[in-house]
């Protein structure tokens, strides 16, 4: 990573991601305060829903897409040892995506696009919001093209050799994202933009929800794959160990990408526009996608155990104590796995075809996805940033101990925030309410949990500020001498000199995905064109 141009490109993407993140963290604290109702001066549904919509868009789309693009450029340039292909095009993608973000941010912040990041037609927002979101996604497609070109150029230059694991994972994520984003792209291009511009009079909300469900599940794996990539290629090296199995890691990424796509209907279990047989089919697929996560959990823990034993740890659990807990990457993976275990249990409840009725659209759901995304995934984004920053800015990290405090407080804050959130869901609190006005005894039992959530939110905001402060101080530090570090990838225990072509390429898996998507979404989408449906007129909010 001596190439200054690549470093600048990666840093620019990562800064956009983290600025979006910190803004959204402030909004998060406002939201827990507002919805608790403890401070009556704050009560305002219009500000609340503008904030929730912006928080969702910034965290789910801006933080993730920009982080993943910056991470991908870094991985491609360093693991393939070649500069980023077509730098002007890469910057074009960056500016396109950033323009989209600004275009969408204006109506969002003005409170004109409070339609949440899930869009929810027939409520409509100004066209600028949808067009902005589209440009953001198109910008990410530019990144996809560059990643695929670099992937195939390297394969042509190194015939018969295994693509480095980190790049293979990134390429699988590109394939996943291209398929994932197609669903929402169809919804926005053929339904939402024409509706908001008045080109069409009505919209079929059932079709919109089906198309959005196409995107809504695999998108979380798009966010998660960088974290899993770090699990496999950074964590073992930082802990002083090895990748447990290079081939199984590839297989895990393949199964993640292939099975996360045809299963989106678990978001529609409670919906009237899809039949139960299709829901059951997608439900079974949802359980399949737990397999690569279970395999990944095993592989990471195995790598950590080897590290602990190499460092002198003895006994059944003794190796845990002898791990390098003060290494930010190792600490982050331990905390990430802890949150993954609890979040995973919650996920099994959500995935369960009929049991889901109990918690559908209750506070349980945001509790779950904050634990698994903002917890498991984002804590790895932090660890990746702490690892990459000294390499990208050529200066030592401002404070390693501050980084450790930040990771611990993020974990503690997330536990304090999401535990009451889950309980509120079981107590029947709906998600997305700006205040509790139900005149019912039940709602009294909600109050202590609201208070706990405020504490969690404040701890998280403090942690997020430490993160940004540390990165900024590292970069702006004028006195420190330039250091020249390189990314070190973990070696597998058994080097995979040559792997079968299907563990080294995307073509076969692209076809498999096409077949599975046709099976699971073919008729469910076609049905809207063969039955008598009634469109809905657009509404404001």
């Amino acid at each position: 990573m001596n190439d200054a141009a690549t470093r600048k490109l990666a840093l620019s993407h990562l800064w956009v991601a983290f600025i979006a993140f910190i803004l959204a963290c402030f909004m998060g604290v406002y939201q827990v305060l507002e919805r608790s109702g403890f401070i009556s001066a704050l009560d305002s549904p219009s500000v609340y829903f503008a904030s929730v919509s912006t928080h969702g868009v910034l965290m789910a789309f801006v933080l993730t897409i920009f982080f993943i693009m910056g991470f991908g450029y870094t991985i491609a340039a360093s693991s393939l040892k070649q500069p980023v292909w077509n730098m002007p095009l890469a910057w074009g993608g960056f500016w396109l995506a950033l323009t989209g973000v600004i275009m969408a941010a204006i109506p969002l912040l003005a409170g004109k696009a409070s339609v949440l990041y899930t869009f929810y037609p027939p409520i409509v927002a100004p066209a600028a919001f949808y067009i902005g979101a589209t440009l953001l996604v198109v910008g990410s497609w530019v990144w996809c093209v560059i990643m695929l070109v670099m992937f195939s150029q390297w394969k042509q230059a190194n015939p018969g050799q295994a693509v480095p694991l980190a790049m293979f994972a990134t390429a699988m994520n590109v394939l996943l994202w291209l398929w994932t984003s197609a669903g929402v792209a169809l919804e926005v291009l053929f339904q939402l933009i024409p509706l908001s511009l008045g080109w069409i009079d009505t919209v079929d909300a059932g079709l919109s929800r089906t198309l959005f469900a196409w995107t809504l599940h695999p998108i979380v794996y798009f966010w998660l794959i960088p974290a899993y990539t770090a699990f496999y290629v950074f964590v073992p090296k930082q802990a002083g160990s090895f990748v447990f199995s290079d081939e199984m890691a590839r297989l895990a990424f393949i199964v993640l990408a292939v099975f996360s796509l045809p299963i989106g209907f678990h978001h529609l279990y409670m919906d009237p526009e899809q039949a139960k047989g299709w829901k059951l089919l997608h439900g079974i697929g949802t359980f399949m996608v737990a397999l690569p996560t279970l395999v990944t959990g095993f592989a990471v823990i195995a790598s950590l155990e080897i590290a602990g034993r190499l460092r002198g740890g003895k006994g059944l659990f003794g190796w845990i104590g002898s791990l390098p807990w003060t290494n930010s990457m190792v600490l982050a993976v331990i905390l990430s796995l802890l949150m993954l275990i609890f979040g995973g249990f919650g996920g099994i409840v959500n995935a369960s075809y009929a049991m889901n009725a109990m918690i559908h659209n209750t506070a349980w759901v945001p509790g779950h996805f904050h634990l698994i995304f903002a917890g498991t995934t984002v804590i790895m984004y932090f660890a990746i940033a702490y690892y990459l920053w000294p390499i990208l800015v050529k200066k030592p990290l401002f404070s390693s101990s501050m980084a450790l405090v930040q990771l611990w407080t993020w974990f503690i804050g997330m536990s304090i925030l999401t535990t009451p959130w889950h309980i509120l869901g079981l107590l029947g609190q709906p998600r997305r309410v700006s205040s509790v006005v139900y005149n019912n005894l039940l709602t009294l039992s909600w109050q202590p949990y609201e208070l706990m959530m405020i504490v969690g939110g404040l701890v998280l905001l403090g942690s997020a500020c430490l993160f940004i402060y540390n990165l900024a101080k590292t970069q702006l530090n004028p006195s420190s001498e330039a250091i020249d570090q390189h990314i070190e990838y973990a070696e597998p225990i058994h080097a995979a000199e040559s792997v079968p072509e299907w563990l080294n390429d995307l073509k076969l898996w692209n076809k498999v995905i096409a077949v599975l998507m046709f099976i699971s979404f073919g008729y469910p989408i076609l049905q809207f064109f063969i039955m008598d449906t009634y469109g809905s007129s657009p509404w404001g909010f």
């Binding site: 549904p45 199995s245 409670m270 009237p272 079974i284 397999l291 700006s434 079968p500 809905s536």
Partner: protein, 207 residues
């Protein structure tokens, strides 16, 4: 002639696919997997298999399914619709003695505002929206469904315990979303009497 060549192509394709799958299988078996990892994968498969079989058996043999009756309705003209006309809403007992409850969701309430239903009795709710997307949940019960404009959300459930329950909108439907709620009284089975108008099936005709 034409059909023969199609047939040949098909055979050719299948033969190719077969060879490819065979090759894939051989390569797949050749992957190095640690014995411990092999055991872990077996355990994972067992756990996932167990959960899936519970769900599938419940769905096929006990009829435990989420709502999913794909039935369309014109949400923009509910006022012209016989079934969901205002005087036809609420609790009714049909000819076979089944209890059907027709409800309309609209910003920001559920109509009718209050209903009485018996406990321990199967109840079939038919929900429609007159405007945007809504959801309805009666906390502590299985009565949960999305109400998507353009579709009738039908769900059959039983309330085991009598009591006063809130009926909450659980999907963002606009700035007044949190004010969208109403009440339902679940009355002990033996104390409940069917509403009088339930005999006039179809309610008043507003054609």
């Amino acid at each position: 002639m034409q059909t023969e060549s199609v047939k040949q192509k098909c055979e050719h394709f299948l033969r190719d696919l077969n060879t490819q799958l065979h090759e894939f299988y051989i390569q797949f078996r050749a992957i190095h997997i640690d014995p411990l990892e092999r055991k872990w994968i077996a355990v994972s498969l067992l756990v996932v298999g167990l959960l899936v079989s519970i769900i599938v058996i419940d769905a096929f043999f006990h009829g435990i399914n989420p709502p999913g009756k794909v039935e369309t309705v014109d949400s923009d003209s509910l006022h012209l619709n016989k079934e969901f006309a205002e005087d036809n809403l609420g609790v009714q007992v049909d000819g076979k003695g089944a209890i059907i409850i027709r409800m309309v969701a609209g910003r920001y309430s559920f109509f009718p505002k209050h209903i009485d239903v018996p406990s321990e009795t199967p109840l079939t709710f038919r929900w429609v929206s007159m405007d945007v997307l809504h959801g309805v949940h009666i906390p502590m019960t299985n009565m949960s469904t999305m109400i998507v404009p353009g579709y009738v959300a039908e769900i059959t459930t039983t309330f085991p315990k009598p009591g006063e329950y809130p009926m909450l909108c659980n999907e963002y439907c606009g700035l007044g979303h949190n004010h969208m709620w109403s009440n339902i009284s679940v009355i002990a089975k033996e104390d409940w009497t069917a509403p009088v108008k339930s005999l006039a099936k179809g309610g008043s005709n507003n054609e």
